[in-house]
Amino acid sequence: MLVRNSGSNITRRKLLGHSALAGAALAMPSILTTARPAGAQSLSASAFAKANIDWKQFKGEEITVGVIPAGYFNNLIDVVDTFEDLSGIKVHFDKIPPGQIRQKAMLDLSSKTGVYATHAADPMYYPLYVANNWVEPLDAYLADPKITDAAWFDYNDIPAGWRGSCSVGGKTYGIPYDGEATVQVYRKDVYEKAGINPAETLDQFVANAAKVHDPSNRLWAAALRGFRGAGQNMYIYPSIFREFGGEWYDSNKKLVVTTEPAIKALEWYADLLRRYAPPGVENWNWPDIADAFGQGTLATYIDAHNSAGVINDPQKSKVIGKIGYARWPKGPTGKRVTSIWTWSFPINAALPERRKKATWLFIQWSASKETQTATSYEFAGAYKRTDVNRTSLWQEPQYRKLMDSYGDNFVEAATASFRDDIDPDWRPLIPQWPAVGEIMATAVQAALVGQAKPKDALTAAQKQIDQATRS
């Protein structure tokens, strides 16, 4: 099995001689595991020979990469033997539950144990990582011709907003592996029957919802994430906030969330969900929304574009072929603001020098156009990635063909969102964001549930935010 490799870190085992015996006795499970699907992928080493670097210069290193269980990482795991053959570097993957990966990564980074050479990082944590000096600045790596072929790697092919989300103060600290944007997703057939088009403005979004809302026939009009979390309902709220013209900082550079746009945005959010969303939505995260849509009980939602993979999964979905996509509706300011999300790879600053560079080779390889291609439409398995990190890939006919199969207007909605709707001030980039995000998330959910009026919820949140950001 890919993720459990019995050839683990030797140095740790050296400390306890008898553990080798124990290891032998307990190696029994390996007969139950299956080897990596051999030859499953068509990614050849020759594709990488083009790069003008010596891939084998760090031969013999072993690195462990922490990822979450997800289709887009599974594909990477499936093709990684190409990298191992190419570079002579051994890669172990550790699949960590999504609710735990940030803590585990931080535990590793902060205690300098160097367990994870790199891990799938949440962009909102970069200011935190940098403030603590846990990750390597990568500009030097990008510029070093010995380890990076800049022309071949074409770093600027990655959308600017995504690159920016992994940078702090203009310096790069992580390389995006995948990325997504939030878009409208709707049922073509339902909209056709009601004679409406996907909403252009937030008001129209509500009007559309009113037209198709039919709970007695188990069709609810719209849903957005309600689940409390800095990466959950606070993944959607900032877009609405910015579309209403909200600014996170006041003229004194203080983080303020009680402004008029903030309240209006929360009111819009709470109102929509209360009137047109399925009951229980205040606890819903993305998989719940995708489930409902796939079951045909939801007419519209706004969420990550790569949910397309899930709602087109023949194993689970009942609405294949009936899906359409559109960009975020405009707010009163006329802006469309999509979310910025990437899973990116930083380099653990606690590693020995040689291993850092070996990790860099891995990162460069996984973010390269060739690997991105191999894990999406060229992938031999059922799941083909829709969240590649390369804008040029979206121009490739084969890729577009695959994306088109996911529904109407998918390519246009996604590419336009990447290109035009990314707002660098979408969320404040401060180290305290995880805490602030949670405070806001609680306030948002309290308003959604009706536990507090939007204005009061935000006022309470402001008090806590002041506490959390005091310096």
Binding site: G99, Q103, M106, S110, L128, A131, N132, R218, F227, R228, G229, A230, P278, P279, G280, V281, E282, N283, D288, D291, A292, T297, P431, Q432, W433, P434, A435, E438, T442, Q445, A446, L448, V449, Q451, A452, A468, S471
Partner: protein, 301 residues
Amino acid sequence: MKAANQTRGELLKDERFFAALLVAPGLLVLLVTTTAPLVYLLWTSLHHANLSMPWMNGFVGLDHYVHMLGDGRFWDALRLTAIYTVTTVVLQLVIGLGLALLVLQIPLGQWLFRLVAILPIVLAPVVVGLYWRTLMLSPSFGLFDVFTTQVFGKSYNWLGEPTLALISVILIHTWQWTAFAFLVLLASLASIPPDLYEAARIDRAGVIDRFRHITLPLIRPAIMIVIIMRAMVALSAFAAIYAATGGGPGTATQILNLYAYQTSFVALDFGYGSAQAIALLIVTLAVSAALFRLRRRGGLA
């Protein structure tokens, strides 16, 4: 006579030595493995250790504790913890005892009952939380909803409304753990010699009298242990609630344990989080000490 006294003195010393020997290995293990973490926790709680603001880290003495006393969320969490713990422990005890009494009367196939009863406990709490969240309690998808719409014609938002959410998580916890009380009390009830009941029946004592005067006093130690153990587990319940509601909606199910987790691992304020953990420890100690004394007072033969 004098010889007997000597032997008794020696016997006592022997006994004390033997007892100490029996206890030593286990005690040593505990000493080694729990002292360091406790010291670390205390130490951290006296410092500002916020990963997101490392420039502020340093010794702050009792600041966190003072702040805690003024923190509304802390008192809310404490209140929720109290409600949660008391309710679920009482429920577990009552249902467990009732079930044990019932099942004791069934000689045949008792093994089946015991087996079925422990199934909920065997399911991992994290899976239990996920399950109940979507397959059981989610409105318009879950089984509970099917039931309530058919029978009551109404759909309840079990995890979306603050009060219902609290009831739901108590329900989930009780569902999962009652079997512990059931099995322990069953084993305890089963060890009561039937002769005692015979004697009582001859004396024409009624069922309730037999229960109050024979059964209850004899299973009292087991009951106390069940209460103490379940209380400790309830006070530190985590996985199932986290998976089911995440502490929400809002903070309606955020018991102190969850609040401490949130503070430490999400807000990254480990200093304050450690203080909360210590507070939880103190609460648990206090509750257990009280129960412990109750237990001792009950008197053993």
